[in-house]
């Protein structure tokens, strides 16, 4: 199963007011190509995607926040799963694309003995799953978006064959942040400084 195919299945399920966060992985370039509007915080560096998304759930409690994380990133700070379980936000959907590899630099621990779903369960997250087919992915993602969470889904995908590059003006660093902040300030639920209408 390919990551991009799963993201293509996910994109139509994500409504205009949901917020998404991606790890610094193929998730970023692929998701930025598929979701060009809305609040997307892209390219969170290692270990920071899931807890950043968790923080957004505190700011937007009525909207689903979707973390598109990756195995290498999550394993840098898997203690964030414990924080997720303790905070227990009903609006968090964590989708971890597990290709069992560090880009093209060899296998991660999930290629051997590590099971991310079991780690999440052990942390105390109740709604968990691991999917290996497109049908399982569609069904599980839909359920996670439609029911109270937090939900944690491991998606087993092939290693990406080629490096995908996103538009640097929209996908990384301060430029991405400005896109994100503009979208957030237009969000109907935003209550911070600089709120914009529409």
């Amino acid at each position: 199963m390919k990551r991009y195919d799963c993201l293509k299945l996910l994109a139509p399920m994500v409504d205009a007011h949901m917020l998404t966060v991606t790890s610094l992985s193929s998730n970023t370039a692929m998701w930025s190509a598929l979701r060009t509007e809305g609040a997307n915080f892209l390219g969170c560096n290692m270990g920071l995607c899931l807890p950043f998304a968790l923080g957004l759930t505190a700011a937007f409690p009525k909207r689903k926040v979707i973390a598109l994380d990756s195995d290498g990133s999550l394993m840098v700070d898997s203690s964030s799963l414990i924080t997720v379980a303790d905070v227990n936000p009903p609006n968090l959907v964590a989708i971890v694309f597990d290709n069992s590899s560090y880009a093209r630099m060899g296998s991660t621990f999930t290629a051997r003995r590590t099971d991310l779903e079991k780690i999440a369960q052990g942390a105390g997250i109740k709604n968990t799953g691991t999917v290996r087919t497109h049908e399982e992915f569609s069904s599980s993602a839909k359920q996670a978006l439609e029911t109270a969470g937090p939900s944690f889904l491991v998606v087993k995908v092939e290693p990406d064959r080629e490096r995908v590059k996103g538009d640097p003006h929209r996908t990384y660093g301060r430029a991405m942040r400005e896109w994100f902040m503009d979208a957030v300030r237009h969000h109907p639920d935003y209550s911070g400084a600089g709120k914009k209408s529409g």
Partner: protein, 170 residues
């Protein structure tokens, strides 16, 4: 930290509209974080690691929530990766109150070699991470320091640290 300092901090955070309090409990600030946990004004969150605490605060802050992260020097060291990203790269406005472990006056009983290490790394670490900070050691200035740092962190759009020490903490 005595009740007077706790009271001043809590009152000032409320005046600043800071209602999300995030911490990994540590001894010198425990009275403060426990008081915030007992106060219904605050949403009090305990994190399992300081790195995910900073990332959590960054998501909340960029999403429009006013938050405070309460930690110590060890916590800042653990969170330095997250601070480099959420501060230098993304400019998340996070107010951080940190006990200045290892500063003169720390009689908490941990080994002197640890205290010295904290003292040696604390301010150089914040300088290296380009995080603006102030040392707060007098009760008379505590309220104003919180007010000014709260304003500055929003205005700069950047994390700011208040290192609590002296009569404010010990």
């Amino acid at each position: 930290m005595d009740q007077h300092s706790v009271q001043v901090i809590i009152e000032t955070l409320k005046e600043e509209g800071i209602d999300l309090a995030v911490t990994l409990p540590e001894e010198p600030t425990y009275a403060l974080t426990e008081a915030m946990r007992q106060d219904p004004f605050f949403t009090a969150v305990t994190v399992a690691g300081e790195g995910n605490g900073i990332a959590y605060c960054a998501g909340a802050a960029l999403g429009g929530r006013r938050c405070v992260f309460v930690t110590g020097i060890a916590g800042l060291l653990v969170a330095s990766w997250a601070l480099s990203q959420m501060g230098m790269v993304y400019g998340a406005p996070i107010l951080i109150l940190a006990s200045y472990r290892g500063d003169f006056g720390d009689h908490s009983g941990i080994p002197g070699s640890q205290l010295l290490m904290f003292k040696q790394v604390a301010e150089p670490l914040l300088s290296a991470l380009q995080v603006p900070y102030r040392v707060v050691n007098q009760k008379a200035t505590l309220k104003r320091m919180i007010q000014e740092s709260s304003f500055a962190c929003q205005d700069y759009s950047h994390p700011i640290v208040l290192l609590l020490t002296g009569e404010v903490l010990w």
